[in-house]
C-alpha cells in the first residue's frame, strides 16, 4: 500500500506543487523554492505572445475536428456490428478492426509518412497512376488536421466500439421482442431501442472526450510536425515542450502548461454539469 501511495504523491501531487514555477522566475542555482516570485508575469507574457491565438486556435480546431468526426463513428460501427448475426463474421470483423489499436504512435506516424511521402509514397504513386499531380501531403498546412484526425479514427474506432457493443449487449431482450411484435423494421429498432439503450454510455464517453479537448495526443502531433505544416500543427502541448525542455525556459513553459490544464478542467466540469442537468448522466 505504501509504495503506490508514494508513487502518487511523488509523481502526481508533487508536480502540482512544482507548478508554482509558473509564478516564479526560475533560477537554476536557487532552485524552485528560492527563486523570486513574479506573480502573473509569465501568464501575461504568454497572453501577449503573438503566437497565443494561433496556439489556442490550433489546439481547439484539431481536437474539435477529432471530436466531431471521431466520436460518432465508433457508435455507428457498434450499431452495425450488433446487427450482424453470423458470429464468425462478427468475430473476424472485431479482430481486424481492433488490431490497429496496438500499433505504437511512432509506427503509426511512420506508416502515415511512408504512405504520404512526396515521391515514393503509396498515395502519390496512386495519384500519378490516375493521372493526377503529386501532392506533398505533410507539407500542406491545410491537410494536417485531416491527416491527424482520420489516421486516428483508422487506429482507434474499432477499439472504441467495444464499449458501445457491451452496452448494446446489456439491453433488455424483451424490448426487442416488443419492438418486433409492434412490427418495427430493423432501422426503427435501432432508433427506438438501441440508441436510447446506450444513451447513458454515449453521454459518459462524450463528457470524457470533451474533458480531453486540451489534452490532445501530444506525441502524435509532435511526430507529424515539420517546418512546413507548423502553421496548423503547433499546439499548446508541443509549444510547451519546445520552449520548456528544448530551450530550458522552465517558468514560462510551466505557466503555459498550467493554463492548458486549467482550461481542460473547467471544460470537463462544465460539460459534466450540463450533462447532469440535461440527461441526468454524469461522471460523478
Amino acid at each position: 500500500m505504501i509504495p503506490p501511495l508514494l508513487f502518487f504523491l511523488v509523481f502526481k501531487y508533487y508536480p502540482m506543487l512544482n507548478a508554482v514555477l509558473a509564478f516564479k522566475d526560475y533560477n537554476v542555482i536557487k532552485g524552485i523554492w528560492e527563486s523570486p516570485w513574479v506573480g502573473f508575469k509569465n501568464f501575461e507574457l504568454f497572453f501577449e505572445n503573438p503566437l497565443f491565438w494561433t496556439l489556442v486556435k490550433n489546439t481547439i480546431m484539431l481536437s474539435g475536428y477529432l471530436l466531431l468526426a471521431g466520436f460518432p463513428i465508433p457508435i455507428l460501427l457498434a450499431l452495425m456490428i450488433n446487427e450482424v448475426r453470423n458470429t464468425k463474421f462478427k468475430k473476424f470483423f472485431q479482430l481486424v478492426s481492433f488490431a490497429p489499436y496496438f500499433i505504437s504512435t511512432v509506427v503509426m506516424v511512420s506508416i502515415i509518412m511512408l504512405f504520404l511521402a512526396p515521391r515514393l509514397g503509396f498515395a502519390n504513386i496512386a495519384l500519378n497512376f490516375f493521372g493526377f499531380h503529386s501532392v506533398n501531403f505533410l507539407g500542406e498546412p491545410g491537410m494536417f488536421r485531416s491527416i491527424y484526425v482520420w489516421s486516428d479514427i483508422w487506429q482507434t474506432a474499432g477499439y472504441s466500439a467495444v464499449i458501445y457493443l457491451a452496452a448494446l449487449a446489456g439491453i433488455d431482450p424483451t424490448l426487442y421482442e416488443a419492438a418486433k411484435i409492434d412490427g418495427a423494421s430493423r432501422f426503427q429498432k435501432i432508433r427506438h431501442v438501441d440508441l436510447p439503450g446506450i444513451m447513458p454510455t454515449i453521454v459518459i464517453i462524450l463528457i470524457l472526450n470533451v474533458g480531453n479537448v486540451m489534452a490532445l495526443g501530444f506525441e502524435k502531433v509532435y511526430l507529424l510536425q515539420n517546418p512546413l505544416n507548423l502553421a496548423n500543427s503547433e499546439i499548446i502541448a508541443t509549444y510547451v515542450y519546445r520552449v520548456g525542455l528544448l530551450n530550458a525556459n522552465y517558468s514560462f513553459a510551466t505557466a503555459v502548461g498550467l493554463f492548458n490544464s486549467v482550461i481542460n478542467l473547467v471544460l470537463l466540469l462544465t460539460v459534466n454539469g450540463l450533462a447532469k442537468r440535461i440527461t441526468n448522466n454524469s461522471i460523478w
Partner: protein
C-alpha cells in the same frame, strides 16, 4: 430467444436490404483497416527496386529478405530491441505489482478513507502539474538518463487501478476475507493464497495492457534519456524513419541502391517493431475485451 423470434417472423424486403448494406459497409471498413497492414508487410519482403517503383500493390514482388538482413546487422537496432524487451519485462512486473498493491486495499469496504483516496487518485487523471514540473521531479530524483526513468514515473495508470479495483470488488466476496480471518489468516497470507489465485483474469489483463503500453512507449525515453545505448526500439525507429537519419553503416554500393534499401529498411523496421504485439494479439484479444468491459461496468 431473440434469434428465434426473428426467424419466425419473416424479414421484410426493406430489412434485408438494410442488412446487406450493413454487411457491405463493414466489409469495406475491414478492407480499409487491413489493407495498409498487408501493404507494409508485403513491401518489407519485396525487392528494394520493386518497392520504390511502386510495383507492390498487395502481394510481395520479387520476394527478398534483404531489408531484414540489413536490419539485424545494424547495432543500434539490436540494442534498441534488447532495451525494449528489458523495459517491457521489468516495467510490466513493477506496474502490475504496484497496481494490485493499491487496487486491492481500495476494494475492501473496511479500508479507512478509501473513498477519499480513490477520489484523489482519480483526480490525477483529469488534472496534472504538467510536463515541466514532472520533469523537474524526475530530475531532482536523479533519474534522468537512467533506465529507472522509463520504469518508475509512469508505473501506475489510474485507469488500470479502476479496472482492478472493480474486479476485486465484484469477484472476491467480503465473506471470504471474514472466513479466513476467523481461521487466523493474516492479510498478507490472504492476498497471497486467496486473492492472487482467484484473480488470474485481471492479472492477465493488467500484464497485457502494461506490456503493450511499455513496448509502444517512446515519449518518456525522448525526454528523460540522453545516452543512445539506453534507447528503446521506438526511439530508434523514430530517428530512422521519421527523422530520416538512416544509419551510416549500410554497405550498399551505388547511391540509388542505397536509397532504395533505406526505403525498404523502413518497412522492415515497422514490421519488426510491431510484429511481437500483433502476433500475440489474436490470442489475447478476449482478455482485452474482458478488461475493457470490467472497467466500463462501474465507469
Amino acid at each position: 430467444m431473440a434469434i428465434a423470434v426473428q426467424k419466425k417472423i419473416k424479414e421484410s424486403a426493406g430489412d434485408r436490404a438494410f442488412l446487406i448494406t450493413i454487411h457491405i459497409v463493414l466489409i469495406l471498413v475491414a478492407i480499409a483497416v487491413i489493407y495498409p497492414l498487408i501493404f507494409i508487410l508485403s513491401s518489407s519482403i519485396s525487392s528494394p527496386a520493386a518497392v520504390t517503383s511502386g510495383k507492390v500493390w498487395l502481394w510481395p514482388v520479387d520476394i527478398s529478405f534483404k531489408g531484414f538482413k540489413v536490419l539485424f546487422n545494424t547495432s543500434e537496432i539490436i540494442t534498441g530491441y534488447a532495451n525494449s524487451i528489458f523495459y517491457t519485462a521489468a516495467g510490466t512486473i513493477i506496474s502490475v505489482i504496484l497496481t494490485i498493491m493499491i487496487a486491492y486495499p481500495l476494494s475492501r469496504k473496511g479500508f479507512f478513507g478509501r473513498n477519499t483516496l480513490m477520489m484523489m487518485i482519480t483526480f490525477t487523471m483529469i488534472f496534472s502539474g504538467g510536463l515541466i514540473p514532472t520533469y523537474m521531479v524526475v530530475k531532482q530524483l536523479h533519474l534522468i538518463d537512467t533506465r529507472w526513468a522509463l520504469l518508475i514515473p509512469n508505473a501506475i495508470w489510474v485507469w488500470q487501478v479502476i479496472i482492478a479495483r472493480s474486479f476485486f470488488q465484484s469477484s472476491i466476496p467480503e465473506e471470504l476475507l471474514e472466513a479466513s480471518e476467523i481461521d487466523g489468516c493474516s492479510d498478507l497470507r490472504f492476498i497471497w493464497s486467496v486473492v492472487i489465485p482467484l484473480s488470474k483474469p485481471i492479472i492477465a489483463v493488467l500484464v497485457l495492457m502494461y506490456a503493450v503500453g511499455q513496448w509502444n512507449a517512446y515519449f518518456d525515453a525522448l525526454i528523460y534519456l540522453k545516452s543512445a545505448d539506453l534507447f528503446p526500439l521506438q526511439l530508434v525507429l523514430r530517428s530512422i524513419i521519421i527523422q530520416n537519419n538512416s544509419s551510416g553503416n549500410m554497405d550498399a554500393a551505388a547511391m540509388v541502391e542505397r536509397q532504395q534499401l533505406a526505403e525498404l529498411l523502413k518497412y522492415a523496421l515497422i514490421v519488426v517493431a510491431t510484429l511481437p504485439v500483433l502476433v500475440i494479439y489474436p490470442f489475447v484479444q478476449r482478455y482485452f475485451v474482458q478488461g475493457m468491459l470490467v472497467g466500463s461496468v462501474k465507469g
